[in-house]
Assembly symmetry: D2
Homo-oligomer: 371 residues x 4
Amino acid sequence: MMGLGVGLIGSGYMGKCHALAWTSVATVFSGIERPLLIALADATDELAQKQARAFGFGRGTGDWRDLLADPAIDVISIAAPNQFHADMAVAALEAGKHVWCEKPMATSLEDATRMRDAAIRTGRTAILGYNYIQNPMIRHARTLIREGRIGDVNHIRLEMDEDFMADPASPFYWKSERDSGYGALDDFAVHPLSILSVLHGRITSLVADMAKPYQERPTRDGGRRLVENHDIAQALFTTEMGVSGVLMVNRSAWGRKGRIALQIFGSNGSILFDQERMNELQIYSTDDPLDLQGYRTILAAPPHPPYRQFIPAPGHGLGFNELKVIECHELLQAISGSRDTHVINFERGLEIERVVHAAAKSADSRKWVKL
Amino acid sequence: MMGLGVGLIGSGYMGKCHALAWTSVATVFSGIERPLLIALADATDELAQKQARAFGFGRGTGDWRDLLADPAIDVISIAAPNQFHADMAVAALEAGKHVWCEKPMATSLEDATRMRDAAIRTGRTAILGYNYIQNPMIRHARTLIREGRIGDVNHIRLEMDEDFMADPASPFYWKSERDSGYGALDDFAVHPLSILSVLHGRITSLVADMAKPYQERPTRDGGRRLVENHDIAQALFTTEMGVSGVLMVNRSAWGRKGRIALQIFGSNGSILFDQERMNELQIYSTDDPLDLQGYRTILAAPPHPPYRQFIPAPGHGLGFNELKVIECHELLQAISGSRDTHVINFERGLEIERVVHAAAKSADSRKWVKL
Amino acid sequence: MMGLGVGLIGSGYMGKCHALAWTSVATVFSGIERPLLIALADATDELAQKQARAFGFGRGTGDWRDLLADPAIDVISIAAPNQFHADMAVAALEAGKHVWCEKPMATSLEDATRMRDAAIRTGRTAILGYNYIQNPMIRHARTLIREGRIGDVNHIRLEMDEDFMADPASPFYWKSERDSGYGALDDFAVHPLSILSVLHGRITSLVADMAKPYQERPTRDGGRRLVENHDIAQALFTTEMGVSGVLMVNRSAWGRKGRIALQIFGSNGSILFDQERMNELQIYSTDDPLDLQGYRTILAAPPHPPYRQFIPAPGHGLGFNELKVIECHELLQAISGSRDTHVINFERGLEIERVVHAAAKSADSRKWVKL
Amino acid sequence: MMGLGVGLIGSGYMGKCHALAWTSVATVFSGIERPLLIALADATDELAQKQARAFGFGRGTGDWRDLLADPAIDVISIAAPNQFHADMAVAALEAGKHVWCEKPMATSLEDATRMRDAAIRTGRTAILGYNYIQNPMIRHARTLIREGRIGDVNHIRLEMDEDFMADPASPFYWKSERDSGYGALDDFAVHPLSILSVLHGRITSLVADMAKPYQERPTRDGGRRLVENHDIAQALFTTEMGVSGVLMVNRSAWGRKGRIALQIFGSNGSILFDQERMNELQIYSTDDPLDLQGYRTILAAPPHPPYRQFIPAPGHGLGFNELKVIECHELLQAISGSRDTHVINFERGLEIERVVHAAAKSADSRKWVKL
């Protein structure tokens, strides 16, 4: 059997990450046919050819539509700017390709809906790049929760914070334009929401607030320009299980670099996680003897799938890029017909988008919103 | 000059803590006249006399009003159950005594207002036992913020969590009765709010939610009883400085024992604190060289007043009870006329109570509330 | 029954700590007769009288021998400079007083032996101020080890580090003189050795090394002076149980403030502790399910005696000074005849001194030494 | 220009790790010609062909000598069992290939010396797989030390601990045979020594001890067998700079999974590191303001080369396997003639082996040994 043929659109930050995943997946996971790296598309022929050579793809092209026409390509990785996701994904699906699209899904609810509809219509596999859910520690948390190890979940707190917008002296750029989206809500909220989706379930009502740490920013020509969206957002919510929670995101949080912090409380214990220490999971369990109760720090290790595929020794540490390799493996499983995959497909991705838009609406109307 | 005469009402958990403070304050702080422990009041003469002997008070009485009539007593510590605070404090003030009252201030806004009015009317010193603000690390955070070491504050997150109500199998008791208050909101929210008050300022609007992790609890006679208040509460808020924040409290949070976690973000850095590691303060500062930026864990030490009064060596650690000794010293300074004391007086305490009641109102009406 | 009469010699750092302990012990622990603070001795009458007043002692005296003659005094706290310990302790014991002496025991092995002999000869209670062993977390570690919760201990690492000698620019003072002792070995090693003594047992052989981070230091008159002892010391050792271990001490370790770090490995788990986070104990146990194994951080709480005497709520934190209160209570128990006390008496203290001197000898001879 | 031709011997744990590195290096690092994966050798033709296909190599062979004869192969990765390292490396070098050999270098000092000599004789690039030194945080530590950010180093503590030999019930296997080596000393000590080598310098004298946590182990046939080497080892040492230090290794340390802990003290600060949190480095600096001094936790980020090649966002985390990619890049630089590479070549590797053997000799003779 031959490996699947792969086309990659985009070779920047996440494009490189996809390339690494496609290159490594068969080395890491046994029993996988090695994917064939057919073609890479980027802005120009020249750039695409250079990157194709570096990343090990057979050819490069300045026109992403070339990939749709190539019968050797079975699956297309979309790591292009967000505003192109919808057109690319819909076209790829309609050309009969499977699609692996980076998040956020799209820049409007309409586009996201269009993508979801195309996935259903074509029956192709279509998933989003929510790689944080692939962390063996997040998967372990899911297993523990499902097994009832912390009892019935009754409260959830979710935080995602970085500091790339924290410097008031850094010049205004497109991330602060209204057209780029709500701000922290699109950039960040989708990530903890993807984790909430796999660990617990859906949000059914919320009230949100958004804030600007800086009202204006310097422009490169020495002037000032008003900031048009919000670097900070937070929401109180209730889930379909009747559980209360809080969601907090901040892309101007000095000191936070890649924090995605979870606190999940149950009737028999609790679970803590922070992506900045992505190889650790903390659990408190009342099953422990009373004089020994305390948070236990579990290091990622072979008992936590699929850690063992990467390293046979415990506690040696996976990295951010390796989450994409796991995601790639899940995608391959999904394409080959497995039903038990751990992915956010377009259907589920659309639900996440709906929460983001509901939060923005609530922040605007100053009212609770039902989903 | 003679030390002040002290009367103590209550000799349980916080009564013992007050007694330790009165006994230790002059040993710890130089230049203080040693207070005279005149009398202790508790539920019965017998109990009061036993405790007076153990705690080193001159006499014990079953009637707290005896203390008001004793001219040797200058100041009264109130560590009796919450529902008595108002009557005791008002009577003590009207008898010309200074008052040191445990929190929460009172069980109704009316009572709290009555206490505040009595303090103003009598001109006596009247403070509340918000001991967490006395931590040298919290004081250091205040100094750092005032000096602009993290720039302009632009976001705040406050959490207080314990697990004494976390076990669904523990029987219904008065803490779950409506009459005992809103639940986590009165029990816990006042603490982070007291810290917010000294570090930053007042809340001017909020939207809150409250939740019950368990709808009912077993009774001691084998039945079940509906829980009448809320072990979980959270609020989105804005402060008088226009800063957005989140307040979260949970007294059923398995694994949390005495957590009061602060995250304070500014334009030039951020500060983190957790009362469970009360001798540590974390700061991130963009004044550090770029390749060395990271959260710095500062251990309580002589440069952080009044740590040095307790221990001349750095990093040796203060305890929860010692915060009360610092508070006692602040009280003595306030009584002796100092204006620069670090206390929550009845005026300020009333503001905190107003936030609690506004949060309860918002949770009930499902609307934003202005203060 | 009357409380014991107390005399205190010295009112500096540790004298204050003793005074706080004597003042607080009956408030904290129930069932204890409140000690009577009879007299305090210090260098001059004037200083002693001032401190007696501040600390709540009945009188002050410039002559510590006055205390021996006072029949109202049953027990004497010795918190005077180290070189006086032996004469004071022996005289106090011979005057029929019980003795609570600060560590280090004495400045020579001969003096320490003389003290031990006097204790045996007089039959009085004589203990040393090794307060770190009083930490409820250290006591809990002892319980866990005795109960076999980590199986058979097979390896031990002990570290004690501070940074008060770390600055090469700080002037030469008496701590760097040969007559003040070996350096880090006397200052620090005795502390982890006291903990080893209560948690495990005695050292039977060792090889040690000592080092000078700085060969000379500035003098106050602008010159330079050679450093005469060693701020750093380490030893490999074997215990009476045949267990191997490492002891490391450093009083010039920039960044360390009050670190006493223990790593105790057994056949079924391990225990970690660091005095800088004195309210935490970490345990790893293979009794946990395989997918949940990890270090568990236990916060000091009521199940860990005698924490509950100080605070009924878990995780609220004891401080360094409170360890002395526990020690005081143990002393009172020992005086009243209890055999099950948790103290380092002069006999055991002498064993610790022997290890220190053996280590110095080994460092000098560059050979393994047997004890 | 064509990429180098690669041959890989061994496709187990470290073989897979090498394969990932060869596959990823040109994707991660720009400006590198993509290596050509020519052939993979393993125990049998069948296994080798299967793995070659999975890992993306052109062909597989059961005879590693085939690789030496292939002119398309420029460099050979040796990830075969330790006892074959010397023969393979020498033969490869003599066949004109560059060599990348996994550690430990060899099972005897003679073999290691033979390897070193072959490298010098042939002038080929020959490096060892000491991947921990490639961590951007270790490289950052080196930069900080070289720039004098912690002043003059004056004390070093090194620990490496895992728990794969910690279970006394796990059966005797070859790791406990004398022929497999000294035990923890070969398995682990070489790693912290490789880090010491790049951060500081060479050890010139030491005294060591070794210990057996378990004297015997069960055999698979129900019997017992004496353990022939030592799972625990420690040494006091002095370096060429006159700095004192301690080296501790334990492969039976329950709870430790991949700990390599460094404590490096200097006259102006100190640096801490633990491989179990491999994306963090801690530094204490007296350059900080006095009231802000404390250990700062730096997260791996773009300012710490070559982190940026993997991820443009800070604090997202590299994994253990990615250290091998960095090592591969250093190897390629070395092959292309760069003198400023960060590798342990065979010359330096031999020095590390000498320390291991000296420690074993010291443990045996119970004496200090000079190097």
